[in-house]
Symmetry: C2
Subunit: 166 residues, 2 copies
Amino acid sequence: MMAEGHPGGESLLFLTDEQLRKGIEAMFFAYRGFTADPDRILHDQGYGRAHHRAIHFINRSPGTTVNNLLTILGVTKQSLNRVLRALIEDGLVESRVGTRDKRERHLHLTEAGAALERELSTAQRARMRAAYRVAGPEAVAGFRMVLEAMMDPDMRRHFAALKEGA
Amino acid sequence: MMAEGHPGGESLLFLTDEQLRKGIEAMFFAYRGFTADPDRILHDQGYGRAHHRAIHFINRSPGTTVNNLLTILGVTKQSLNRVLRALIEDGLVESRVGTRDKRERHLHLTEAGAALERELSTAQRARMRAAYRVAGPEAVAGFRMVLEAMMDPDMRRHFAALKEGA
DNA sequence: CACTTTATGTCAGCCTTGTTGACATTCCAA
DNA sequence: TTGGAATGTCAACAAGGCTGACATAAAGTG
């Protein structure tokens, strides 16, 4: 296994099994940190990570349908429905029957839901901001590039759509 | 939002809420891709992500104790024990009583365990390698820097220890 | 030696969040 | 009018977290 060049330098240095393993472990440990703050907040309110995901994407795309959310989250409708039901009952999410297509439910955060969303995303953004500051802008660009390349193509599409949409 | 690109320059470009949100979403979607391949393999064998994590770190630090593993994985002993019991019963992991301290159990992969580890890590490394290739070496360095900065300090310590150890 | 602490394992029970399968309702569209 | 899509709901189940309680053996400490 000998190296050939790559725009930017010796790419092989980063493709040894050892380097790849370290990348894998970095993802594992970093994801734990990534979810730690919201998890704490949510646990205090009797919610879990699934509720966070729903709240995040409803906030991100107000009026999104249940089916859209299903696709983005990659879970079954039964699983999502359990979470949505709780959020609706607790008055954090509002489900409006579609006007054009009355089968669809359009989801919105209530003021209380938006408040929780702010609390969660403020905490999560703070950690992300701190990491970005430490690593610097060049690192951030690389970070985003690698993450995007790691996604499944379908998810990359959804991710890109969110980018433009919001 | 006026931005000029300047290497090492105005880091503020990367610290807008919008940029931070995109980073958060990128982590979410990328982690899904990151675990997708091992998840498929494991599901076929009746195992889950928890088994993968145990196998990974036992392979990474052969002879590690249950307590070490507990700390790194950040779960309760009951939870880990359930997983280890299955792996030991199935002949993928061997638990050896410590020689110096006979209370400790030192964990090793059997040949069968090592074979599964190779299968899992080959798949996961392939995805990582592909992402690295697309993004390029500079991006990889940034990726790793941001991930490390995102970890909780404790986990960063464990991560660093793994780096040197293996 | 007696006592305490540590490392591990195990039982029982609970929660969240995922799954499948079956079935009802509503309503758009061919 | 009929088929299919979108949604909701019920039931049952599994993985994998958690807590609490308890047991055992070994090591450390007075």
